[in-house]
C-alpha cells in the first residue's frame, strides 16, 4: 500500500506544491510538482484566490490520501509571514473540506527527514529530494523542492505498519537516527 501525499510550501509570490507516493519500504516516487505564482503588484485577495484555486485544482486532480504543510511561526517576523499564514489558512481549509488527514511539520523536521540534518541548507535539501525521488534533474525553484521534501517528510513520519517487517532502507536508517538525535536536543 503506497501513501500519496500532497505537500505545500506556502507563499504568495511562489507556492510550491509537490505530490509523491511513498511505499511501505519508504521509497518515494514523484507524481507531480508545480509552483503556483502570483504577481506582487496584484491585489492581495486576487493573489489569495489564484493560489487557492490552484491548490483546489491540484487536490482534485491528484487525490492525495494525506496533506502536509510547513508549520509557520509568528516569530519568523519577515515581511512575508502574513501572506504565508493566509495561504496556509486557505490550504488547511481546502484539505479539511476534503476530509484529508493533515500534518504540519517545521522546517527543521523537514530538513532532518530528507537530509538527516535539521540545519541543512536549500542546496542540500534540493539534492537529497532529487536523489530520493530518482530525478535526473534538480527540482527548481527551491519552493518546488521544499514542497516535495514536506510531502516525503510527512509520509516518513507516519507510524510504520506493524505487519511490514521490511528491513530499513539507508534513507530510513538516516531518518531514524536524525529523529532520535532531534529528540535528545
Amino acid at each position: 500500500m503506497t501513501l500519496r501525499v500532497l505537500g505545500v510550501d506556502p507563499g504568495l509570490t511562489r507556492c510550491g506544491v509537490g505530490v509523491v507516493e511513498v511505499r511501505p519500504d519508504r521509497t518515494a516516487t514523484l507524481v507531480h510538482v508545480e509552483v503556483l505564482r502570483t504577481p506582487a503588484d496584484q491585489a492581495l485577495e486576487l493573489r489569495l484566490l489564484t493560489i487557492g484555486r490552484g491548490l483546489a485544482r491540484l487536490l482534485d486532480e491528484h487525490r492525495p490520501q494525506a496533506f502536509a504543510l510547513e508549520r509557520v511561526f509568528a516569530q519568523q517576523n519577515m515581511p512575508s509571514v502574513m501572506g504565508v499564514a493566509q495561504i496556509s489558512g486557505i490550504a488547511l481549509h481546502l484539505a479539511a473540506e476534503r476530509s484529508l488527514p493533515i500534518g504540519l511539520h517545521t522546517p527543521s523536521e523537514v530538513k532532518a527527514a530528507v537530509t538527516g540534518y535539521g540545519n541543512a541548507d536549500k542546496r542540500q535539501v534540493t539534492a537529497m529530494v532529487a536523489r530520493l525521488l530518482g530525478l535526473t534533474e534538480l527540482p527548481k525553484p527551491a519552493d518546488a523542492a521544499d514542497a516535495l521534501a514536506i510531502a516525503i517528510c510527512h509520509a516518513w513520519r507516519q507510524p510504520q505498519p506493524a505487519a511490514s517487517g521490511a528491513p530499513l532502507t539507508p534513507a530510513q536508517r538516516a531518518w531514524r537516527a536524525a529523529e532520535a538525535g532531534s529528540r535528545r536536543r
Copy 2:
C-alpha cells in the same frame, strides 16, 4: 442607494461578523450580527473549516455589496496572530470568490471612524456602535461590536457620491475631523 457591508473581526476562538446598511446621509442600520466560535482544543483545520463555512453562509445569506476586514500586522506578535492571519486569508478568499469589493482597515482607522478617536478603548467603541445603529442593548461580546465597527468604518470611508449634497451628520463631521487629524500625524 444604501450600501450593505459585511465586516469581519477575524479570530479562531471568536470571529465577529457584522452586517450593516449605510445610507448616503451616512446613517447606519443593523442587518445582522453574529459571533462564530470554535473550541480551543479542536484541531486547527477543523476550526478553520467551521469559521470558513460560517463566513460563507453569512456572505450567501446577507449578500453584502462590500466586504471589510481588520488589517492584521505581523508586528502584533501575540500567540493568536497566526490564527487571525489564517482566518483573514480564508475570509479574503471567500470574498474574492464572490467578486466583492474588499476593504482592509487598521484598528486605529476603525476606532477613529466610529468614535472620532484612534485610541478609543473597547467600551467606547461598543457604546458608539450601539448609538450609531440605534440599538437599545450594547452588542456583545467585543468581537461583535468590532465587526460592526469595521463594517461602518468601511462604508464611511467610501468616496461620497458627488450628487448627494446632503449636509454632514454629526457622526460624519466627527469622522471627517478624525480622518484629517490622522492624516496630519
